[in-house]
Symmetry: C2
Subunit: 552 residues, 2 copies
């Protein structure tokens, strides 16, 4: 890299939701901001999760000084269990963030990691970088933005944020610090673009409290609230409202129980003695005195709420009279699952309060007016929109230009782009390896395009396996051909088709026998082509056809 | 059925989007309203489309007098190519509806159907039923509601509708006829619930014309508009705006070309001589004089717009300066595909105008205030909400009750429920077969739960095929075991795993050989269990395992 220049290299989070990760490099020193996962796209069949490709960091492993975390959401910390197996560096984050991370590391058998807790206002020196932590509001407590002082200038990375003027925990965003940094001069800002399309201000988290209040007042029997497991503020408001209406609260769903326990322990969640009860105790109270907080607000098929909706939960049955509050908005791609869950809950006679019909959820991300305020406080010379689909980045870039920033100072980048800055110039100067690493079970990165292509073909029309045992010497069939299919047609009702298919294969094999052809690959191709054509004509389907020749 | 009673039996369209179909029966006479398809759910892998199960109609085939259509959308006519192969009855619909249907029937090789064109205001006697056609507004021209006079009372079925006060074709909804029917007394109303969650009024289609006007004014170069292929009003407004700005219009995408040709022929679409050009001519004009109307507003991977976005279209390349208008809203489930298309178009440097950032689309369905007006005009005694997810039906039912209808007169039903009416009583009296028939290629109904379950398993972790040739007499292995996998792991990088797997199988087979066990099913189960356990331990994946024994 050019001497005396500062590089910012996003390895994830641009042009996508999730998988947030940014590299900052000066000379031979690197720090990393966040290390998140994302969830698989629809065409990534069988994939559990997706993490950033960290080839660049592994190639420069000796230069990496530390990883700094902005908050405890999966899309900011979720790749660490994988990355820390390959890279031994200290990780800095606030207490709740590290509390959640510790659980994840333990689940994944990562020991000996060096986690260092910081507080908003702290400053950490890491090589040439001085990293400061700045309080912001988000849909999880203890979220921070970062300031990074470098020899070239100061970077501000907002992390995920909103400017909630009345946060539930009263810990207001540190406007003063952003203003101070703006006064001192900021070279580059990277800022959350998730809600760059939304005009106005994002409503305060407290608005949900008011809606809870209404809903609790109307509900006669049991109340079940589903939300994101890490939304501690939301859980707090449910507890507060429950206290007001003299109800007990049971928390259900492994991930929410984990987060709630950490948050209670660390004081980010507060409940008067005796309010929180075990889920096994709910039947000791009349329905009118019970609130169940649970997961499944995205309609995830295995979640507690989905199981209840499908009458498949061990401990909770939905009964008429239940009021169910889905306190979340469907993440893009989850709309149909959420909708299906609502329908099943309604079929069971429950009252369901959900987003389309009420103000039961607010976003954790800044809308346009908040973004403008952030830009005007920080007054950066250069700007890199981060966190969002490409169209969010474009929209955020336009917003910055509307505020007066010259077009050439705004960088709508892609993951892996190297953005290089001197005190008065910024440019895209190169590219490094960046991309998606797919995690499937214990396999990290072993499922690639070929495996996915096969899964896609298998998922569409299934597979036909043609097995034949041949005598290599005499080039003749000893057993078979046998045809086995899965996912193609219902075999019991398609005997004729399968018989005809077998005849086709037999006929093809006889041709090769007569011709004395013993090239297995020629025979396989012949079988595949003949059979593929026959089946397409008869069914308009293209199953995978797998000829196997056993040699005796 | 009870003598002198009227039955209404929904066979589709309740608790789901699409696949609309309603049976009306009096004594031994049946008529059917609409006959639509729906698109497969995410878990219906490889399925092309879904049609209603018409077992009930086939069991009563001699009673079915006719099918009546409300409009030409796929979810109202799309199952006819399949149903008319099994059921020979006349089909009544307006001209555009039948024009579109004819194309579908021809594509599917259905000849000799008896299609009868009607006009709004017409009345058709079919057995004991007198069916009237009432003009309504919708996102396709020539849409009608139906009145059905029966010996028990009058039914009103709204079809899909909105109450557009300023429709593009100036054919305003026949409010007078609804009022007249209401005056004369209506026994049962079935009404569109799609937008029952939306407060207020749905904006007029003309609002989109104003947005087009703005967009055309700002665009310097080429304009590309994507919308639903059957939205003739939208195409008309694009043509009108193009004329105003002296641009030519090329229509691209097979389905849109088909509909536009029918609509032009029948006079539902009007374009001055020379305005519509062939897509091959677009390069004869400067970019500033060209508009391309196309399909792909849902991000469908094979559509014209998606191909353009991916630089994969034969005739049109996206270039910086292009303005692309996505004049549609994503249908639930399509959000991510639409979003991906927008991102790729932006990456190519185009300006993209889409729903989240503009008023570039209006719905074709009535919002709450329009629904209320319809209820107050028709004043039915009984009400059945139709067309919508279960939650939309529930919402629409509540709306009817808010308007004063007694709860027991409102029926939130499921497909297959038999709703029976006398002049003063309505009740759910039974159930008939109803459900989804899956169409996959040429197969109608041959893909069921077993095939789908296999496709799902194959799609998640692939398949391992274990082949071994055995000598039945001597109960010993003659060739193999060979293991072939697809969609499980990338084989070239997993040789060790596959070798170990083969050893495991060998070991298992040896055990059986030693034991003299020749029960193929025992051996297969043993192989499957051993291998499944081994692979899960090593990979945390559960591929389908298919042991095949060839006997010599």
């Amino acid at each position: 890299m050019s001497k005396g220049k500062l590089q910012i290299i996003p390895l994830g989070g641009l042009g996508e939701i999730g998988k947030n990760m940014t590299v900052v490099r000066y000379g031979n020193e690197i720090i990393v901001i966040d290390c998140g996962l994302s969830f698989p796209e629809d065409d990534m069949l069988g994939i559990d999760l997706v993490i950033p490709d960290i080839t660049y960091l592994l190639e420069n492993r000796d230069l990496v000084k530390a990883i700094f975390l902005t908050h405890g959401h999966e899309d900011h910390i979720g790749a660490l269990p994988y990355v820390l197996k390959q890279l031994t560096v200290p990780v800095y984050g606030t207490r709740l963030t590290l509390g959640i991370l510790e659980g994840r590391l333990k689940e994944n058998g990562v020991a000996n990691s060096s986690l260092v807790a910081v507080k908003p206002g702290d400053q950490i020196q890491a090589g040439a970088f001085k990293v400061g932590f700045i309080k912001v509001s988000h849909s999880i407590p203890d979220a921070v933005a970062l300031s990074v002082r470098t020899p070239v200038g100061t970077i501000v990375h907002t992390g995920d944020f909103k400017l909630d003027q009345t946060p539930v925990d009263n810990r207001v965003t540190d406007f003063h610090r952003f203003a101070e940094l703006g006064d001192q001069g900021v070279l580059v800002m990277l800022a959350d673009s998730t809600n760059a399309e939304r005009p106005g201000f994002t409503a305060s988290e407290r608005a949900v409290g008011a809606t809870f209040d209404d809903a609790f007042r109307k509900a006669r029997d049991r109340i079940i609230i589903a939300t994101f497991s890490s939304n501690v503020h939301r859980i707090q408001q449910a507890i507060d409202t429950a206290c007001k209406f003299k109800r007990k609260v049971a928390i259900l769903g492994r991930s929410m129980v984990n987060v709630a326990n950490i948050a209670l322990e660390q004081g980010y969640l507060n409940a008067p003695e005796g309010v929180i009860i075990d889920v096994d105790e709910i039947n000791n109270y009349p329905a009118s005195q019970v609130v169940i907080m649970t997961t499944g607000s995205q309609g995830e098929p295995m979640s507690a709420l989905s199981r209840m909706a499908m009458s498949d939960h061990k401990k909770v049955d939905i009964v008429p009279g239940d009021t169910i509050i889905i306190s979340a908005t469907p993440i893009p791609g989850n709309e149909k699952m959420v909708s299906r869950t609502i329908d099943y809950l309604l079929r069971q006679g429950a009252d369901v309060i959900y987003e389309a019909t009420s103000g039961i959820h607010v976003s954790g991300h800044a809308s346009q007016e908040e973004l403008k305020l952030m830009h005007n406080l920080v007054r950066p010379k250069f700007f890199i929109p981060v966190h969002g689909e490409f169209r969010h980045l474009v929209k955020h870039a336009k917003l910055a230009q509307d505020l007066g920033m010259p077009k050439e100072n705004v960088f709508v980048a892609e993951n892996g782009h190297v953005l290089e800055f001197s005190p008065d110039k910024g440019a895209m100067t190169g590219k490094v390896t960046a991309g998606k690493v797919l995690v499937d079970g214990l396999g990290v990165g072993d499922v690639g395009n070929i495996v996915l292509r096969d899964r896609r073909q298998l998922s569409q029309d299934g597979i036909l396996i043609v097995v034949v045992t041949m005598d290599k010497q005499r080039a003749c069939v000893v057993a078979g051909p046998d045809i086995v299919s899965r996912g193609f047609v219902y075999v019991r009702e398609s005997e004729q088709l399968m018989d005809e298919a077998r005849e086709k294969v037999k006929h093809t094999l006889e041709k090769y026998e007569t011709g004395g052809i013993t090239e297995w690959s020629t025979i396989k191709t012949g079988v595949r082509d003949t059979l593929g054509k026959f089946l397409y004509e008869r069914t308009r389907r293209r199953p995978m056809i797998l000829p196997i020749i056993m040699e005796v």
